[in-house]
């Protein structure tokens, strides 16, 4: 069911062009010579690769890690209920003898967006072997055989957008006692020494819903490479023009990385303590098995070499990626490619 689709989309124009030339050439009554082996070197440009990125729920930070600081266990094990392993980001976090720390989720939680970023470049090397000929007419044979190829495709999809919404933010307070709090930003270390902060939470934190804006930058990049095997058929349209069709099984491996950076700003936040920039990155590898079909029109430069232009269609499984709270589905099910290159016969 996919092969005719390929013909319609990728090779239809070439087929018509070739048929016209074939008719003209056939009238010349020339003898067609076809070599048994052919090697193709081609460049590929893929279209119709899309991705859908879904934002899962963002778990807000919880003590001792906060959006704007930390109150962690130090080398002493927080002896005496105090630690020197703490830090804070903004001067406004010091309020009424307490250091306030905050934790919020993301306004993008539960949303998703789809995007495409065509074309994607690659290459392919193939070898074909003629196995037989069928006479279509007195002067025109149909040459058939089997070909195998190695192909590689660079995937590169980038997406940036901004989403308004709201976040739920909790405030935690720690009393500073009698210390002179270092100016912000301050980062204490595990081994210290430094000012000691109580590890006992002060007055219970409050929770607010605040308007927020999320800026997201997503990058999906990697390689899809592998082998294709299947039959092919060629019809010489003239001494110089040949039309070729093929199809078969494709076994491709993906090595793709999903990474993102999300920045949340709180326009109405009075103490300017937004959640930290959240980012994650993860690579995935997966073998995919599917089908392909192609069509091309070759123009002979010499008796043993020609240039060709054509199209290719892939049908593969979608590729699922996950990094941090984001998941992505890369649509490889209906990829169209434009191919072009050199063909050598011998």
């Amino acid at each position: 069911m996919y092969f005719p689709l390929m013909l319609q989309r990728a090779g239809w124009a070439a087929f018509l062009l070739g048929a016209a030339a074939w008719a003209a050439e056939a009238q010349l009554g020339e003898e067609i010579e076809v070599s048994r082996n052919r090697v193709n070197f081609s460049a590929r440009f893929a279209f119709n690769v899309s991705a859908r990125v879904t934002s899962g729920p963002t778990s807000p930070n919880v003590p001792p890690i906060f959006d704007d600081g930390y109150v962690r266990t130090d080398a002493s094990g927080n002896f005496g209920g105090k630690t020197w392993y703490w830090g804070y980001d903004h001067k406004d976090q010091l309020v009424n003898g307490n250091l306030e720390f905050h934790a919020a989720n993301s306004p993008r939680d539960g949303t998703s967006e789809q995007f495409a970023d065509d074309p994607h470049a690659g290459f392919e090397i193939s070898y074909g072997r003629e196995l037989g000929r069928i006479a279509l007419s007195k002067h025109v044979p149909l040459i058939w055989g089997v070909s195998g190829s190695f192909s590689s495709l660079d995937l590169e999809l980038r997406h940036e957008d901004q989403v308004p919404g709201s976040v739920t933010r909790t405030t935690y307070r720690y009393p500073v006692g009698n210390i002179v709090v270092p100016l912000a930003p301050y980062q204490g270390s595990f081994y210290g020494p430094g000012p000691l902060l109580s590890t006992t939470l002060g007055p219970s934190g409050d929770t607010k819903v605040l308007p927020a804006v999320s800026d997201l930058a997503v990058s999906i990049s990697g390689l899809v490479y592998g082998l294709k095997v299947g039959p092919f058929a060629e019809v010489p349209l003239s001494k110089r023009l040949t039309i070729a069709l093929g199809g078969g099984l494709a076994a491709l491996n993906s090595d793709v990385k999903l990474s993102y950076t999300e920045t949340v700003t709180l326009p109405s936040d009075p103490d300017k303590s937004p959640p930290p920039v959240r980012s994650a990155s993860a690579s995935h590898g997966k073998w995919m098995v599917g089908f392909y079909g192609n069509a091309s029109l070759a123009f002979a430069l010499t008796d043993n070499s020609s240039v060709f232009l054509g199209g290719q269609y892939h049908h593969l499984d979608d590729l699922n990626l996950r990094a941090g709270t984001k998941s992505a589905v890369i649509g490889l099910g209906q990829v169209l490619e434009v191919t072009g290159g050199l063909r050598f016969t011998f």
Binding site: S76, G77, F79, N178, P185, G188, P193
Partner: protein, 365 residues
Amino acid sequence: MTPARALYVGAIATNEQGWLQVPVCLVAQGDEAAISFSLRFSTSALAYTNYTVPVSDTNAVVTSLDTGGTTNGPIAATNLTSQASPGQLDFALTLPSGSHLNAGLRTLVSAEFVPSTNAADAIIAAGLALDSPGLTNTAGTNLPVATAVTPQYMSSVTLTNLADQNGLFMSRLTFANPGATAVPGAWVMVLNLTNDSKGQPITLYNASGTTNHVLLLQLEFLGGTVVFSVLDVAGLVPYLQLGPMAAGATAELTAAFYVSDRQTVPTPQYEVVVMPPAAPVVSTNAPVFLDRVLFTNGVFFVEFLSTNAVYYIQYTDDPSSTNWSTSLPPIIGNGSRVQWIDDGPPRTATPPSSQTNRFYRVYQQ
């Protein structure tokens, strides 16, 4: 490096009666055959009673005077010419003919005094001096020798006012100069820093530096017998810089101990040696921008953003002066904010609360 020949009054001990044991020590170079000197003291503070020469020591390393000669024989004459005059003891020590001392630190004699008041006040007012030193080798040639009266470690008080501010164990140490003359400065070597309960070493956080500790002797009075014991052997020990001290003056400095578990109480021991102050640090870099200089609770807080570099803090009471003092040790930045606290010696010469104003600047090395 071989220490220079020096004759000095060492750490004064107090016996069970409250009497003072004043040791006179020699850093011998190994060729001394005869030694003489006068020990002066203030008769209003001290009353001389007796002297002892170490005789009971059985440790071959800490050899005492009577076994220190190359012949291992007794000293031919250990002569105290009584009190040549009020407040002066003249000693003459002679080894057998052809003998000389081995190189090293040894206590020559320990003079015993009854304090006129309490021991601490008597030490401060002792007015000790070593005069007319005369050292010769086996050929009778005079040998050069330096003399000094070592400032005395008097007491320590645990401080709690900054415990939460810096997470350190703080001790305020008091020293006195029992000498009749000023000393240019001293190093207070801090010994017996053990590990904490987590096995991490306790360190002197505000050490002015480290120095090679060659040999230390402790004079003890046990059951009426003076004995000597080794406190430490060769190795690097941290020290605090004590500034110049006038005769009969006292001085304080703060020792800050880093203890990773914050619960093992340090039990340091202190030993003082006379040492001129370090040369001032001169920098041609532009000063680092200071984010805050805050005076509260009698101390100054100086804050600045650091990189992983070395910073020197300088201070003065007169910003128009070109003679800024440098606080030692330097600060090693950590890439974050540094909160440096001036609570007086040894970081600065005097407590900031004793000044009408104080100015700071910070240089990156």
